[in-house]
Symmetry: C2
Subunit: 355 residues, 2 copies
Amino acid sequence: VTAGIASPLNWEGGIDGYLSLLDQTELPGRETWLAIRDVASLCGAIHRLSVRGAPAIGIAGAFGIVIAAQHAAAHGEQVFEQRVASDAQRIGATRPTAVNLQWAVDRMMAALRRGRPDSPESAISLLLKEAQSIHHEEIASCESIARFGEPLIKEGSGVLTHCNAGPLATGGMGTALAPLLLAHGRGRRFRVYADETRPLLQGARITMWELLRAGMDATLLCDGAAASLMAEGKIQLVIVGADRIARNGDVANKIGTMSVALLARAFGIPFYVAAPFSTVDLQTPAGRDIPIEHRDPQEVAKFGGFATAPANCKVYSPAFDVTPGHLIAGLITERGIVCPVTEGGLAQVGAASPP
Amino acid sequence: VTAGIASPLNWEGGIDGYLSLLDQTELPGRETWLAIRDVASLCGAIHRLSVRGAPAIGIAGAFGIVIAAQHAAAHGEQVFEQRVASDAQRIGATRPTAVNLQWAVDRMMAALRRGRPDSPESAISLLLKEAQSIHHEEIASCESIARFGEPLIKEGSGVLTHCNAGPLATGGMGTALAPLLLAHGRGRRFRVYADETRPLLQGARITMWELLRAGMDATLLCDGAAASLMAEGKIQLVIVGADRIARNGDVANKIGTMSVALLARAFGIPFYVAAPFSTVDLQTPAGRDIPIEHRDPQEVAKFGGFATAPANCKVYSPAFDVTPGHLIAGLITERGIVCPVTEGGLAQVGAASPP
């Protein structure tokens, strides 16, 4: 159902291999693949959004620990774990909002401590296996999200999404786009509308690319046009992804998401979030506790080197906003749909065994 | 108070003169002035938004009738009025949503019919006088709007605006920006936030340029970040301009305006519209009757020649949306603040004599 969309990140080779990353900043113009062989390159790729999407940066972070271990091995057993731990901290801090990155790094380090490998080589081997497990589990989660969400997509309806939560954001079928891809694969006919998602245009550049590659009926709009589209009765459902879900159900996602949620509420349109449980952070009580990354003003004030605003003007550029759980009709996870999106609702579905 | 911002359009010379237009598509990079000497150039400049903003295109349209008359004069008295009328129709149809263009063209043609000039030369002279009257009246309207709106701007507050309704949109002090410029000129301290306003970035390119030139505390944001800014408590007031106001108080303005109005409502922030009565169209009963211009998809899918979306993708790109009157706290006009923004409210203030 992913219609030939390659996974945006793959481990090439064995314990002396490397991470191959699709440079998503070049889409849709060019398909450039980066060979990531050191931690600095990985952090750079995550920071400039060559790889983005909460599940995908989690997977990239996991493989980053393997790369850290490859380099640490060259410095001998005495400092091996210390060096890996130091790189783990560096990788985890690259982007603060999406919890999957820290979650994946923590899981890798826990596996290392639990496995008690007897040499750097066996440590790398153990870490590679764990990273591949994370990758495979995220792929499986996407497929489950697709199955739980697919019945929400009605024949002849219009579905709006914001930013990109498709295959390129996850390494699998995607989160928000997974139910759409499955419904399309099953022959349902419906329209998808993609907010372009300023400032970095992931909706225009990546979501539209994915939807058109999958042969779907897709239309692009500026973020400011969503209200008008809703007022015309063209939208029956909104689905977006998530970068971190607090314990109380508040959802951090790409800037502009809260705006879409409030508009959907105003027009009586159900607003769903799709995300694996790896995006739920029980350590964060509420949305106000989620650290919000602020991006470089130049991402707003310039485009392709061309100034779109006066030089050195002040810019407000949070990368994410927080949608309160009460605006969310349901949270589509790999274990079922959480509804209501509250601490109780999350605990109930989260406690259920995986399907 | 306009801090050295030149009028974006000026008539140069007498009856054989021309219209000098600041090419706003080149801002903020370059200040290029166009010398408009024929109707085709004028229509092109309006269509590609070299001159934009409802009051400014009204003024440009009025001077366009003078230019039409200059050319018609060369064809003799028999066909003079017919040729001017034909060009008037062409000018009026250049952009369908802003009513000021048609209003100005109609007023020019009415002046021509009423004046019964005895030669093409005296017709041109009469028309030039009428166009200059329109220009001067719009400047005076902006000053009145500034005075009525200025008390709304509170010390230490944050004010959000969308698109551009400043000096460059009007030929005067602006509509939405006029109260801000006056309050700033009177020493009040407050923050202004400007939505960048996709697709053509009038907020980033023009509003920010005007605010910074006036020495104001201005911050740029992507349209999708407005909800987040409101949630942080940074916004106490929203003021925008208008392209057409229907008889029942519904307001057509730049795409994204309705979104801001709905967000303001959700956060309990007063949302004001500032516009001269020339923007009120009593012939249009309600918002649904306002014709909405749809723009070239390439304005969204490309930026400075660089593709921001897959080639030939479908794009939904209305230039305007319609904010229902009930979402508007007040309409700031040259005759006072209309509140509630309803047919009755408009009739009451509209009937009052100008200040």
